[in-house]
Every structure is written in C-alpha cells, then in structure tokens.
Amino acid sequence: MSVQNKINQQFPTAQIEEKPDRLIISINAESLREFALMLYNEKDFRFDFMRSLTGMDWGEAGFGVVYHLESTDNKHQLELKAIIPDREKPFIDTVSDLWKTALLNEREVYDYFGIVFIGHPDMRRLYLRKEWEGFPLRKDYVRAEGLDMSNEEPDDTTVTWYRDEKGIPQARRYNLFEKEEYVVNIGPQHPATHGVLRFRVSLEGEFLKKLDVYCGYIHRGVEKLCEGMTYQQTIGLTDRLDYLSSLQNRHALCMCVEKAMGLELSERIQYIRTIMDELQRINSHLLFFATFCMDLGALTSFFYGFRDREKVLDILEETTGGRLTMHYNVIGGVEDDIHPNFVKRVKELLAYLPAALEEYRKVFTENVIAKNRLIGVGHLSRENAISFGTTGPTGRGSGWACDVRKRIPYGVYDKVDFKEVIRGECDSYARYLVRMDEIKESMRIIETLIDNIPEGNFREKTKAVIRVPEGSYYTAVEASRGEFGVYLESNGEKLPYRLKFRSTGLPLVACVDTISRGEKIADLIAIGGSLDYVVPDIDR
C-alpha cells in the first residue's frame, strides 16, 4: 500500500498534497505525537532521518512546525506541517525522543518563535541570552533598544514541560549540574573550539561525565534578515554561513529558487557549478586537515595544509574574484564565465595534489601518536548518526550512505562515476580518513568533467524582479560538511516569506555530548576537530 493511502486510512483529517519529490502533509498540532510515532515506527514507512525542522509564523493561522523526513531504507520523502492555531499559548509535543536532532532544533524554534515543546528535556533558549526579550522570528517582533553589556551567568538549572492530569502544560525546573559536580567551562574564546562555541563539561577525574553546549555567540540572525531582502540579495548571505562551503551553500539557494521558478539551466552552468563545488570541497578538506592536525599538536601539517589550500584559492580567485566569500553562483547561472586559464590551472592542481596527499599520509595519517589519539575515540554509531542527522563525512565515517550527491543527484553528479567514501569504524580516525579520501574522489570528479565542459550560456536570462510562485520548497546539496538544505516558503511576493537554512553543523554539535561521554577531556578536542563544524553555520 502506498504511503499516501495508508496515511489516509489512519488519519482521515490529514491534508495530503502530492509533489513529484515528496508528500506534503498538514495536520493539527494536537495529533502530532501520534502521527510522528506512526511515521517512525510503522514498518512500511520507517522515517528515521529528520532532514530539517523549521519553525513558522503563519500569522492569522497561528504558528507551526515543519518537519522534513526521509526514510533511509525506503527512500520516501515527506514534509509534515503541524499547525498550532493558538498564538497566545503555542504548545506542541516534542519528537526529540524519536529523532535526536530535534533536541537542539526544537530549542532553536523555541528561541525564534516561543513555541514550547512539551516533553522536551531542556527547554532553554539556544542562541539568544536568557534575558533577551521577545522572539525575533515572529512577524510582529520589535527589537528592544540597547546593547546588554553585562556578563552572562551560567545556567545550572533548566526547565521541562509536562501535562498535568487535566492536560494543562506545566513547567518543572531541575538541575543540569548538581552542586557537588566539578564543572569546567571551555570557550567561547578558546583556540581549539574552532570559533566561538562554548561547552560546560562535568568531569569525573579526567573523564567527561556530561557536556552542555552553548551556541549563539555568532548568531547573526540571517534567516530574519532574509525575510527583508529580495532573492538576489539573500544569496549574498549564504556565503557567510559556512564560509568553507560558500559555493555549495549558494548553489543550494540558487537551485531552490530556480526550481521553484521552473528555470532551465544550460549544461555549461551545471558543469561549472559541479566543478566549483568540488574545488570548494577540496579547499575545505585541506583546511580541515590543517586545523585538525594543529589541534592535535602537529603544527607542521598546518603549514602544509594552508600551503596547498592557497593553490586551490588561486584558481577560484582567478574566476570568481574572491578567496573566501566568492559570490559566484547567481539565480539563473553563474556571475561570469570561467577564466581562460581555468582548465589549465585545474589540471596543474590535479597533477600536484597526489604528491601532497602522500606527504600528508606520511606526516600525519601514519603517525603513531595520531593513531593513538584518534582510533576508537568518539564512537558515533550508525543509529545515532541517523538519529542526530549528522550527514556528510561524519555520517559516512559511521557507515551511513548519506551523500546528497548520490541520494538526490543535482548538477551533473548523475553523469560522473565516483565512489561514496564510507567507513564502518565510527570513530574520529574514520571521520578523518573519509575526508582525506574524499579529496581524491573530488579530484576524480573534476578530472572527468574538466575536459568536457560544453558550450552554452553561463547565465540564463531572468527578470530583474524575481518572484517565486506560492508554495514551499526544499532543496539540498552536499556541502563540505554534509547536507545543506534550503527551505523556502513563498507567498508569491518578491521577498521570501520564510527562508530557513538547514545547518550542517547543528547536528554535529548536538551529538558531541553523546559521543564524548566517558572519554578524556583531552579527547574532546580530537572529537570536536574530527566533526569539523563551522560555528557561524551552526548559529546562522
């Protein structure tokens, strides 16, 4: 029986809309819990991977939460919209016990919209300070004046909501850390946290007992900013989320808008975009190598990695004009045609890199100290990887084939032959090796494409004012650290009604607590490094 029929049978009130790539189902928030359980448990469905969770403000119709689900076995796609009509007291049940990725995502929604998730173990704000007034992504939000320069107090307690006998939601406070626990603060200014991420860890001797993540030190409010911008303006901000995936991020947003408008792109554009994405991936993984090794004390590798990364940047710079924020993809194509030297220099790079990779292998991969510090450290099981939604090399290091390039091909990935690198060891070393092997695969992809770039337009004509037809759209690409998704809801105006970016990094920090428990505190650095998150992409 098809998914659609089955849902119809069990939930006659659910509204179902069929799209070529997915089903869109709208339900009332009251039946969410039951519905979610069915989707998760029912044998024919097994929606075990939550791609994205988005809060919504639908004005008169109330608030809402949109879940994007996928079943890793059956490959079904589903978009579930839960509507909360009560604007005064927006409550909804949690699904964080089914999909662990919801743990942080639901906190994000609470932070943005003030929607309370009943049953969520830890209903604190995620990004903003607890003193912050109002919920910024509500449409009627007005920011209070002034800059709060007081120092932040650590939270030792948190709140969780439950329903009492009458079914009325009640709050209950409990302690995150007990009085006698030994709690150490790491960050937000710490050289090994890769940016401004903050942890509070409870220690038992040298071993980690519990870890609490604090985000938001680089929360720039990008999603709200986008709501006040035209589509052409919004694409400028994506480069600055995960700046090591800037081309891929922008690819995702452009593709989302193009698909929604029904714009056909020339082959040439697809080729250029694919090659650029892969160059970016090499660039990002080289930087990963450099910083990860530096965190573990191998300073030489830092210089090697950066030396070779500059070579990739030279090529990118020649064509795009930028080193980091490249602003290359635009809606309808790319900003300018590739530089006449492009093909030649890419080939030079491809000839150069194998020797460099061999050098890395000698310097670090085969190093006894590195192996001792990485093998068996930070075990992330396949089930947890799916549940947390840790896509990208992290998921593939845990044996989960989660590559968007294979799952839902875009660009010209369906035309090239490349291997999805998967390893089953589930530890930090596996995550490291996956990235190193991915550099080689990226090189293979580029090699196949570089000589065959077809003639054609590098940019299709678009109207000066872009309007996207009413509806909701979700598009994803494989960025350097996993699935980067764009969820766009349009009401036909020239500004997006809601634009949400599925962060690649948020699931990665969400799983740090689980995988570092019982490890030594020094291993936290290795684990964090091997996950390779970029903090502005977590906080957005």
Partner: protein, 213 residues
Amino acid sequence: MEIGKSKKKELVKIKSIPYDEFKNNDYLEEMVRELNENGTNVIVGVLDEAINWGRGNSLWPLTFATSCCGIEFMAVGAARYDMARFGLEVARASPRQADFIMVAGTITDKMAPVLKRLYDQMADPKYVIAVGGCTISGGPFKHSYHVVKGIDQILPVDVFIPGCPPRPEAMLYGMMQLQRKVKLQRFFGDVNKKEVSEREYEEMMKRDMTANS
C-alpha cells in the same frame, strides 16, 4: 625641539617599504604636529628608542576569530603570507600575553561582553584592530537584531581594515600601520607623564576651581 621630517620617517620606518607608499600618513603627521604644537619637549633617549624598536617589531596578536575573517587571519599566519616576517608571529591564546587584538569576524550581542572582558584582561599597552565590514559597522548584517553595529561602540579601535573579508595583504598592511603607530606613541607615553607634574596638576585644579566659583 621640533621633529624634522627625516627623523619622523625614521621613527615609523617599516623595513623595505618606503614611507610614501603608506597611505594615511597625514594621520601620523598630525600626531607629531600636535605634540610639537603643545610645546612638547621631545628628547628621544637611546634606551627609549631601543625599547620601542622592540615593541613595534614584536607585536603579538591574540588568537581571536569569530567567523569568516578569522580564516583569512589564519591564512596570514600560515605559509604564503607568513606574518612572522614582520615580528607578528606569536599568536597568543591568552589575553594576558597579547599586545593587540585582531577582532576578526562579526561581533554579536551575546559576544560583546565576552569581547570586552577579553580586552579588559589584556595588559597595557594594548591595541585593537577591527578587521572586516562586520566589526566596522555590522557589515552585511547591519540590520540584524543580534549584531553589534561597529565594535568602536565597545572598544577603542586603533586601525580599521575594511573588506569582506580583507585580503591577507590588507591585513598585513593594517598591522604595519599599527606598528608605525606604536613606534610613534612613545611620545605620548613619556611626554604625557612628564607634561603634567604634580605641581602643575595642582595649579590646574586651582585654576578650575577659581573659574567655577
């Protein structure tokens, strides 16, 4: 004693880059002019010069990066751009050991008190470089609800480096400008201390009081 032009050039010299290749020299000249005008007695001791030569050529930055600009800052420290050539190599993880802070990346409302605290923890004399559009004005996120619109609201900034992100060369240039400023600043340090002696200070106070009554 006036400071002659050649002396001035000598004071702010950056090795192998001619004085006139720097922009904003008028700013440094203004600093000197002000000092001269105030009748400052500039006696540059040999020891003084030696100390400032050392200070200007070994400015140590604090490792501080919040976002994109931070990656370019790392590139400046790495193989190709190699800021070690200019004595800037030792990025310190602790604010206690750093001479200046490169604020590389967006500063948000939540980060602002942390940044201020880091600055307060640094030992005097300390300097601030604002890197990138974000730290200068909020940059692309100027209209956001959670971004500080220019760090000069919370810290005294010595050098601004515009760009999004600034190229590594621009960062080096900005850091050199800071070095030049530091090399000149000894006049301030010494002179200001000498200028107002205890006796003079009391006289000033008396003057103020009579003026007020």
